[in-house]
Structures are given as structure tokens and as C-alpha cells.
Amino acid sequence: MATDTLAPSAAVTAPKIKSELMQQRARAARIFLVPMLIALAVVAGWPLIRSIYFSFTDASLSNLDGAQWIGFGNYLRWTTLDSGAVRYRGLLADPAWWNAVWNTVRFAFISVSFEAVLGMIVALVLNAEFRGRGLVRAAILIPWAIPTIVSARMWSWMLNDQFGILNDLGMRLGLLSQKVAWTATADTAMTAVLVVDIWKTTPFMALLILAGLQMIPKDIYEAAEIDGVHPIKQFWKITLPLVRPALMVAIIFRLLDALRIFDLIYVLTPNSSATKTMSVMARENLFDFDKFSYGSAMSTMLFLIIALLTILYIWLGQVRFDGGDR
């Protein structure tokens, strides 16, 4: 009746009776969890610690074992010139890094905003009952199913300056006066990346929002209909507040994904400083420029920034995950 779980909670007054059943279950739980926890510690915990450690050393790709501890040097160090002026160097004083941070945050914010709005529209469409709904749902699953790399290449072909179909379409419709090198021009590179990302991930957002929409009982709308509430008011007063929890969780999933974006940019707009994100820059330094420790400092900063933004979001948005007790 009052309980739907087997095991008791721990806070119980003495004398405590530990039954065979509970002991057996506790023991089994431990045995079941240990392999997973070890696996996670090995593939995630330990590498994270090592990455952070490397950011405090002078490690290079060819000399990982001989890395020397240098403290915060990769983050910030300064030299006082003879003239008395202080010159700062290191990650925190690196304009290229802050450019990457800005690119990442801007990208994440804009793409997730668009995806939330478009995802909501698609979800509302899919929540309506009409002929061919199954077809639409199947259609929007396609962008989601296509590997990111493949979509990057598909779109870079469509966005090609000479032979791209989008330039052709734009000229035919009179939207463009001349062909644009979307991915190569600094002004448009970010737009190109945003378009592809929004195209690819809006379906995910839409499906999560749709799940939230479908949990709203239909009779609420029927009641609103009888009361003569205008459909637009229904959306603001009923739909949005009720779907908010689902929307907030969907947004954070997407936000975390957008903040770590790497593959799309690596393929679509390589070497463009207008779209270089934290992840792209960190990998470049780690493996291409042989600045292993500097790259580690970047990945550590990336981790901290994302953690900070996540905590901020969960705190401000009061997001609730369904990880609770049952």
C-alpha cells in the first residue's frame, strides 16, 4: 500500500533487523554495479583526471611520460619586461581562445533557440491529427538518423559556391544576386554551420517536446474549447506551461550537445576562425600543433565552462530530472 519498492530506507531506529532478502539484494546490487562503475572509472574518470593533470605540465605529444609539472603556466603566466610593462601569456590571455569560447557559446545559444522554436512548431504539427501524420514523423526522423559527418558533407555540396543547389535556388528565386561561398566566407560560415545543425537536430527536439505534449490530457483542451478560450491563448496558458518541464530537459540535452560541437565544424568549415569552437581548437592543439599540454588546458577549461553553464541552467531553470526515488 504505502510502499512500492522492496527495500527499506536506511533511517531506522535500532535494533536493526537485516533480513536475508535485503542482504541478498544489497549484495547483488553491489555485484551488479561494480563492473559498470569500474568501466566508467576507467574510460571516463581516470582519463579526465589525466587530462587535467596534463594541463599543469609541459607534456608534448612525443613526450607524454617525461612531462614536468609547471603549475598554472598553461593557463596564465607573465613576464615583466625591462620597461616595467607586464606581458601576460597562456590560455586566459589568448585572444584566439576567447574567440573560440565566444563562437561556441554563440553557436550553442542561437542553434538551441532556433531548435526550440522550430521543434515546438514541428511537435505541435505532429500532435495534431491529420492524414499523413505517420509520413511526416518518418520524414523528420531522417535528418536525425543521418550521421553528422554525412550531413556535413551533403550540405557542403549543397552549399558549394559554384555547383551548389542552394545558390542556384536562391538565384532562381531572386533571393541572391550572386553566388555565395557560404562555408568559406567569414561572414556566412557561422550561418552555414547553424543551418546544418538546426536541420539535423530539430527532429530530436521535436520528438522530446512531442512526448511532453502527448502527456497533456486531452480533456483540458476540451474544457478550454467549451470555455471559448482562443487557440493562441490556449497555447500560452495551457500548452506551454504544461510542456515546460519536457522542454527544459530537451533544451539542456541539446545545449550540452551544442557546447561540445566538433565534427560538423571540423568537416564543414575547417580552418575558419569565424566558426572555430573550443572543441575544435583543443583538438588542434593536442594533436595537430604538438601543444599537448596547452590543448589539455583548453579541454579542462571547456569542461569547467560546460559544467558551470549546466549548473547555472539547472539552477535558474529549476529543471527536474526523473532520476528520483521510486
Partner: protein, 281 residues
């Protein structure tokens, strides 16, 4: 009065279907265009067409017969399949503990697992690189199977925990009264009830592994050990300026068609799996 009302209804109906049409066209067109391109060869490639007007299997022939693309496909299948099986194996038992046994710190543990699945993979790249070299598996499929666990395992644990929580308590209690140990409950009572969930979760994890790029790019270093996403990203022509668009599109279609087919077959299950991993309530 009635006539204007009908007109208004007709307008609404038209606008709605226009919106539906836009959604469908925008979703499908890039893939359609990739297929279209993949069947063009030679100079046809550089004539812009909206409808199929020429048909050639040249690009497919090139991709499958030259270079290491078939090998890359095999690598992708092997790595993704092994990663998923491993993750499912570890996740089934772990999710039993997480969904069915109450213990101190369970909420925190679940949140940590969710956190790891949302982890920026870049943050562990340096440490993973060191570890993979230390283990001597650099540039082998095992390096990828090893590193992919970082996202497939937490994901499968999380989704299976959500699924397992839905199984009725009384069935488990009946099994306990019948004398079943937790292991027997999992293998003989829960698993047979969870096949649909396992298939869904496995498929989603498979797609994740199949599409992964960063680790595959970093932990493999030659054509024979790469997976398809890396192979497609690095496909290039004889000169720097000559990008083999036809081959790239053919390769892209080969990689994508099985996924799209699987996704369309399992649509309903996938949608439920995605939402179980994302939101519940």
C-alpha cells in the same frame, strides 16, 4: 455567414498542409539530393538538376572497389556491434540495481551516470589517448570499442533503468516468494519482458557508435583501421582542389541507407527510447 466560415476553414487547412509540406521537403530534400548526386558521374555532376535525369552506378563502383571503404564499413559494423553488446551486458545488471534496489546515494549515482553521458568528450581526449597508447591498442578497433563505452554505457544504463522501473513490482515479488535470486529474476523474469526495450536501446546506442567521429579520428591513423565517418570526412581527390563529390555522396548513401531503413522500421520504438532517455514526466 456560412460561406465566409468555410473560406476561413479552407485557408486554415491550406496553410496547415503548406506547413506540413515545408517540414517534409526540408527534412528529406538534402538526403534526396545526395542520392540524386550519387547517381551522376563525370560532368553531369556539375549540372544542377532538381529531378533525376541521368543514372550511373560509377560512383558506387569506385567507392566499393578502390581504396579501403569496404574495409571501413566492416570496421564500423564490428566496432559498433561489439560496443553495443558490451554496454548492454554491463547495463542490464546495473540497471536492475539502480531501478529495483533502494540504497543510499542512488539518486546521486544516477545523476552522475547521466552527467557522464552528457560529458564533453574533448575533456577526456588527452587522458584517453595516453591510456590507449599505454594499453597498446592505438590504431586498432579495440581503441574505439574501449573509448565508445564512455557514451554508450551511461546511455544504455539510463534508458534501461527507466524501462525497468516500469515493470510491475508484484511480478518481482512473486518471483522472490518463488525463491528466485536477483540473477534469476533478471535472466528468467525481466529479460524476456524487456526484449523490446533492449532492441530499442541497442539500436540507439548502435547509431551513436556508428556516427561517432572524434575518437575515431583521433585513435586510428591509417586507412585500414578507420571507420566510415572518418573515411567519408577524409575522402579527397588526387589534388587538393578536386573534391570527389560523386564518390562522397555514394559513400554517404551507403552509410546512411541502412540507418534510415532501421530507423523507419523501428520508428515507434525509437521515439519511446529517445523519450525514455530524455524526459519522463
Amino acid at each position: 455567414m456560412g460561406a465566409t466560415f468555410d473560406l476561413w476553414k479552407l485557408t486554415k487547412w491550406t496553410l496547415f498542409y503548406l506547413l506540413v509540406a515545408v517540414i517534409v521537403v526540408v527534412s528529406v530534400f538534402p538526403f534526396y539530393y545526395a542520392i540524386l548526386t550519387s547517381f551522376k558521374s563525370g560532368t553531369d555532376l556539375f549540372r544542377i538538376n532538381y529531378w533525376p535525369d541521368s543514372f550511373s552506378l560509377n560512383n558506387y563502383y569506385n567507392v566499393l572497389n578502390s581504396g579501403s571503404f569496404p574495409r571501413n564499413l566492416l570496421n564500423s559494423v564490428f566496432v559498433s556491434a561489439v560496443t553495443v553488446l558490451l554496454a548492454l551486458f554491463l547495463a542490464v545488471t546495473a540497471s536492475f540495481a539502480l531501478s529495483r534496489v533502494r540504497f543510499r546515494g542512488r539518486g546521486l549515482l544516477l545523476l552522475t551516470i547521466l552527467g557522464v553521458s552528457m560529458f564533453p568528450q574533448m575533456a577526456v581526449l588527452a587522458g584517453l589517448f595516453e591510456l590507449i597508447r599505454f594499453l597498446g591498442i592505438y590504431n586498432t578497433p579495440w581503441a574505439l570499442i574501449f573509448s565508445y563505452t564512455i557514451f554508450t554505457l551511461p546511455f544504455t544504463v539510463w534508458v534501461l533503468t527507466t524501462f525497468m522501473r516500469e515493470l510491475p513490482v508484484e511480478i518481482e515479488e512473486a518471483a522472490i516468494v518463488d525463491g528466485a535470486t536477483p540473477w534469476v529474476i533478471i535472466t528468467r523474469v525481466f529479460l524476456p519482458l524487456m526484449w523490446p526495450a533492449l532492441v530499442t536501446t541497442g539500436l540507439l546506442a548502435f547509431i551513436g557508435a556508428w556516427n561517432e567521429f572524434l575518437f575515431a579520428l583521433t585513435f586510428t591513423s591509417n586507412n585500414d583501421t578507420r571507420t566510415v565517418p572518418v573515411a567519408i570526412a577524409l575522402l579527397s581527390g588526387n589534388t587538393q582542389y578536386e573534391i570527389p563529390w560523386g564518390n562522397i555522396m555514394a559513400a554517404s548513401v551507403i552509410v546512411t541507407v541502412p540507418l534510415v531503413v532501421l530507423v523507419l522500421i523501428f520508428q515507434r520504438k525509437i521515439v519511446s527510447g529517445l523519450t525514455a532517455g530524455g524526459v519522463k514526466g
